[in-house]
């Protein structure tokens, strides 16, 4: 499968980075029109180039779909050859398409949302930088370059969350996001180092970090695969906000809403899922690592969904919903259905970005009011936002024709194949998702308006520049899922087949993992048989898949119904339900399981105490500086003053000391007598 080298891949990355640099340098000196134009055009440029790569890829035979673009040699030391080179294979094509697509829409949306803000140019510079970094992450063909993008997006999320830095809370949220990401990156770094150590010297001069080379040497990686898998996954939990490192995402809502839409819904948080999918050849080697990924994914989904139900801030609900959906994606990867995971990433990007932007336009209209208790009855005043958000709600709940149904159903089906317990959790989460999304819709758009007086008559639909992206994404939420029309409904699931070659190791590894441990290198013939085998399994299972799909659809509709009934008709019932369910459970969920407080108490405060009291005051200033350094100085001083007393000017004392001297010498001489 020899790759085709092209030259334009680097421009996909350079365009936004160039835009960021240009806007950054000429900060505050360009009129807003120029700024928005430059920013949006660079992203559009990237989108077009990505499309070109996509179509070039489609033209290639299914087996050889790989474009590479080696830019230059980055870190050539000893036998290590790390270089900056990009590649596009079916997986990357999907990612860059929807990343640049959604980013472009959000740029357009931001023009309206951020109008009149003092840091307008700085905002777009950061946004372009983010898109550039995300594209580096997705396009890179080796781990260190991916790590550059990985930390780059972390930096941009820090800058953008803390964008309105006048308010200390925002910058604190930004710092928290960066640090938690950094903890995850610590694990990622160690994973890379472990790979380097196992493959050192045995790769013959090639870049041992590049995915292709690693894929070829799976036999070498096998013994340490579990360790590497878990370490890399630690990085993913940091970046994609999974348990235990998900605490930063809800606080990240402090940033402007388009930022939340782009970074904390569509692109950055999915980086973890992309990385796990990209390293599928490694993960399939270790059933234990896969299990961990699946379990953590499921648990996160459940925990986040339960918290989302009780949140009042519209963006916090969406944030927890994102964490929950990410849990789904990791669950998919955990059970080996990488394709389904990526499919859900794409569909989720569409409707979650839409939900965030819709929320943004609501907040924009209500002059930065984010608390749902002071909304309601906006249906008539903001029709477009309402319709698009309603579509997104249906999509995320997994109602039939909408995108969410297809991707979520595929995940649930694959989970069902793997383990019933996880499926049950996933199924419950689906219901919960439908319920809290309906609650959000009901509280915002239905019922009587609880908007406070002076704003209520000002509420109007957002300007066109904000609603167009909503509409586009609304359509995508609808048709987005059709690309993966499943077989049991007569479709050919083109999305799955499109990604198949990338996850070929997946299938092959899957067989190996499930079948005997013989590391059989599937020759072409055997390879075809395997693919065929997988095919039949799907058909046989078609009936069960249909049943599962119907079950999840039913649950979704039930969730929606209950949601409407509870939050529309009888708010008092909602109140009663809340008390009836026991103040304690509700208090626990409302308080977000007090994870933040636990971290603060267990890690932050003792850490500070340790370094301040024990390290600085005791050892540094006290022990080393105080006792050793100044101590010796003081003791010499004291010794000096004692000796000074001897020179007291009394003549007879000198005479005496002479005699004493003589005496001592005599003693020495005479000692042997």
């Amino acid at each position: 499968m020899h790759p085709i080298t092209v030259e334009y891949l680097r421009w996909i990355v350079l365009l936004p980075l160039g835009g960021a640099a240009f806007l950054g340098i000429t900060n505050r000196r360009l009129p807003t029109v120029v700024v928005s134009l430059v920013a949006s055009l660079t992203v559009l440029g990237s989108f077009l180039l990505s499309a070109q790569a996509f179509f070039a890829l489609r033209a290639l035979p299914t087996a050889g779909r790989l474009l590479t673009d080696r830019v230059y040699s980055w870190m050539p030391v000893g036998d290590l050859r790390i270089d900056v080179s990009f590649m596009v294979d079916p997986l990357t094509a999907v990612m860059i398409l929807f990343v640049t697509g959604v980013a472009f829409l959000i740029h357009i949306y931001s023009i309206g949302y951020m109008k009149g803000d003092r840091g307008y140019q700085r905002y777009f510079a950061y946004l372009n930088l983010f898109v550039g970094m995300m594209l580096i992450l997705v396009l890179s063909d080796n781990l260190p370059l991916l790590f550059v993008g990985w930390e780059g997006v972390g930096l941009c999320s820090y800058l953008l969350i803390g964008f309105w830095f006048e308010d200390l809370a925002n910058s604190a949220a930004g710092k928290k996001a960066f640090l938690v990401n950094r903890i995850g990156d610590f694990g990622f770094l160690l994973g890379m180092l472990l790979i380097a150590r196992t493959l050192a010297g045995k790769v013959g001069g090639e870049n041992l970090f590049s995915f292709a080379v690693m894929a070829q040497h799976t036999s070498l990686l096998a013994p340490v695969a579990t360790a590497i898998g878990l370490l890399l996954f630690m990085g993913a939990t940091g970046k994609s906000a999974q348990i235990p490192l998900f605490v930063w995402l809800p606080d990240a809502m402090a940033g402007p809403t388009p930022v939340s839409a782009l970074i904390h819904a569509a692109t950055m948080v999915t980086a973890g899922v992309y990385m796990v999918a990209r390293m599928n050849f490694l993960y399939v080697l270790t059933p234990t690592a896969m299990a961990v990924v699946a379990v953590i994914g499921a648990l996160t989904a459940l925990v986040a969904a339960t918290i989302a139900v009780t949140q009042d801030d519209i963006k916090k609900v969406l944030a927890y919903s994102t964490v929950s959906q990410l849990g789904y994606m990791f669950l998919a990867c955990g059970v080996g259905a990488f394709g389904a995971g990526i499919f859900h990433v794409m569909t989720h990007a569409f409707f979650k970005a839409l939900l965030f932007m819709g929320a943004g336009s609501v907040i924009h209209a209500l002059h930065h009011q984010q608390d749902m208790r002071y909304m309601g009855g906006l249906r008539s005043k903001m029709p477009v936002t309402f319709v698009t958000m309603f579509a997104a709600m249906l999509a995320i709940s997994g109602v039939f024709p909408f995108a969410g149904f297809f991707s979520k159903d595929e995940i649930l089906y694959n989970t069902f194949l793997d383990s019933k317990v996880l499926w049950a959790i996933g199924y419950a989460v689906a219901g919960l998702t439908a319920f809290y999304m309906t609650r959000l819709l009901a509280l915002t758009f239905f019922g009587k308006s609880r908007v406070d007086e002076e704003h209520v008559h000002e509420v109007h639909e957002s300007p066109l520049s904000m609603t167009i992206p909503l509409m586009v994404l609304g359509v995508l939420s609808l048709i987005g899922g059709w690309i993966g029309w499943p077989h049991f409904l007569g479709g050919s699931n083109r999305f799955e087949t499109w990604l198949a070659p990338v996850f070929r190791h997946g299938m092959e590894g899957e067989a190996m993992a499930h079948g005997a441990e013989n590391a059989v290198h599937a020759s072409a013939a055997a390879h075809a048989a395997l693919a065929h085998g997988a095919e039949t399994a799907v058909h046989a299972g078609g009936s069960t898949e249909l049943a599962l799909a119907v079950a999840s659809l039913a649950l979704a509709l039930l969730g929606i119904a209950v949601g409407f009934v509870v939050y529309l008709r009888r708010l008092d019932v909602a109140e009663a339900a809340r008390r009836a369910a026991g103040g304690r459970l509700y208090w626990l969920l409302k308080g977000k399981y007090f994870v933040d407080e636990i971290y603060e108490a267990l890690i932050v405060r003792p850490g500070y105490w340790l370094s301040d009291i024990v390290f600085f005051r005791f050892t540094d200033a006290g022990l080393i500086d105080g006792v050793l350094v100044n101590g010796t100085a003081r003791s010499l001083g004291i010794l000096g003053s004692v000796l000074r007393l001897l020179q007291n000017g009394m003549l007879r004392w000198y005479a005496y000391s002479f005699t004493l001297g003589v005496l001592v010498i005599l003693f020495y001489l005479v000692r042997h007598l």
Partner: protein, 104 residues
């Protein structure tokens, strides 16, 4: 104790006694002049030892050395006393403890 002849060790013993008395003089007395005298005494006791050995060895080097000791003793006394006179002119006393100049 009184055997017939007087040997070398008798003289040595005697000079030790004189020497110790000289040292005591220097340490105990506060009067500078007495101290000088004690020093002269110590020098004489040393001369005694030298001559005792010289006699024992039957050689005259000891004698020459004693002469030199005389010269030095004389010089030392001269300069010492001169200083003493000068000191006395400044401090009206020869009490050694008063001369604390070294300390101020």
């Amino acid at each position: 104790m009184f055997d017939a002849s007087v040997g070398l060790n008798h003289y040595l013993l005697l000079s030790v006694l004189l020497f110790v008395i000289g040292v005591a003089g220097v340490i105990f007395r506060r009067n500078a002049i007495i101290m000088f005298m004690s020093i002269e005494l110590m020098l004489t006791s040393v001369n005694l030892t030298i001559l005792a050995y010289s006699r024992y060895l039957g050689d005259h080097t000891g004698h020459v050395l004693v002469l030199f000791v005389f010269a030095v003793a004389a010089a030392e006394a001269a300069v010492g006393l001169a200083i003493l006179v000068e000191l006395f002119r400044k401090r009206d006393t020869v009490d050694v403890d008063r001369f604390r100049q070294l300390m101020e």
